[in-house]
Symmetry: C2
């Protein structure tokens, strides 16, 4: 994982890197606490459709996990997004492979074994099948997605039924892209014993900021604090 640049803002180290996957260099960013020495959990953040690895929502979440929890966070430009916007690809399969390659690299560098995943909308379209197939992810926040009739919907539903890790699912009750019934059907389908659903009024991109408190509590509950030995 080649580090391209590094900057430090308010105690948060931000490193841009390139992750080689197959013949491509996937651009990403890693955040961690300045001078942190203890083993700490890492949250993988999967951005939404049309977004990229450093949109305000992703950056705000990453800094929060670092500053509030002492965690690390990492984001990649999804296939066809951010610095890769010229590509057209089948996003889910390639996105899953890239997250997997990232975990391999993080493991090699000794950052395991506590990993979480956060991603809504396209971050769930890619992330749900990814975490369902990836035993290294211990807990995941997903949302703004549902079961439906689109291409690939059957595979998505099967992946949801195969989930076993704790899931926090976040839905918007007036989501213009995900109907109430579709979202609730996804919650029903999730196979995990521990799953919890948060619903707020408003549209697709209007998850209230206070849900970030819930993400923090959720990850600390399942991945432990930065001070807890892995």
């Amino acid at each position: 994982m080649e580090i391209l640049s590094e900057k430090i803002e308010m105690g948060v180290v931000e490193q841009r890197f390139e992750l080689p996957v197959d013949s491509e260099a996937v651009p990403g960013i890693r955040w961690h606490p300045e001078g942190a020495k203890v083993p700490r959990p890492t949250i993988l953040i999967g951005h939404g459709g049309t977004q990229h690895k450093r949109v305000p929502n992703v950056l705000g979440l990453a800094r929060r996990f670092v500053r509030h929890l002492g965690y690390s966070a990492v984001a990649l430009d999804a296939p066809g997004h951010g610095e890769r916007i010229r590509e057209w690809v089948e996003r889910t399969a390639r996105g899953m492979a890239e997250w997997r390659a990232l975990l391999d690299r993080l493991d090699e560098e000794g950052h395991g074994p506590r990993y979480g995943y956060w991603g809504v909308s396209m971050g769930t379209a890619i992330g749900l099948p990814f975490v369902a197939a990836e035993p290294r992810i211990g807990a995941a926040v997903l949302g703004l997605a549902g079961l439906g009739n689109r291409p690939g919907a059957e595979r998505f539903e099967l992946a949801a039924r195969g989930l076993t890790i704790p899931i926090l699912l976040v839905l918007q009750w007036n989501d213009e892209l995900v109907g109430q019934t579709s979202g609730l059907a996804l919650f029903d389908a999730i196979g995990s014993t521990e799953k919890t659903l948060h619903i707020n009024p408003g549209g697709h991109v209007q998850i209230p900021l206070f849900e970030r408190d819930a993400y923090e509590s959720f990850f600390v509950r399942h991945l432990g604090s930065a001070r807890t030995a892995a």
Copy 2:
């Protein structure tokens, strides 16, 4: 408000009292931090049907609000419950009047103006109409309830539509007493702009303990910290 007894356990002062309402002395308990001087919010805790003012769930919540947040908490035996189990009464109207009398007394004693309400199941049957009609309550956690066809359901729904304060509604997805549709209809009916819904798998009395973290965040968000001046 006559204090009948006081004990202190692990920094939490617990006072039993009797609140005169009409011709009756309603038994209650008040909890607050030992030696606390700052103005602090008070959470009214309404217990569930067949329970009383000091069942483990109420006691645990009260101590949590005191120890974690520096808040005060107060509970009453609902009509026909606890020390009042011999009575049969129309619970909702009398329960509302008793909470109102308690607020009057707390105001007189200088404990206002920051009040919250926590109560699920019967605590919502009494508490929802109470907080809808009571401008002194700033935020409420409600749940394990829905819209339906029982006697009084129309008044309950009207009260829900009249709510304006922030509400955290907690539902159990396999609640043997409250159907999914009925619970979601209550969420829809709540008139408040800020309302949030948490759903977990399991039956009526199986709300996961981690939701207590959510109650805390919710009250702190809306009532402020104990250190914030009222």
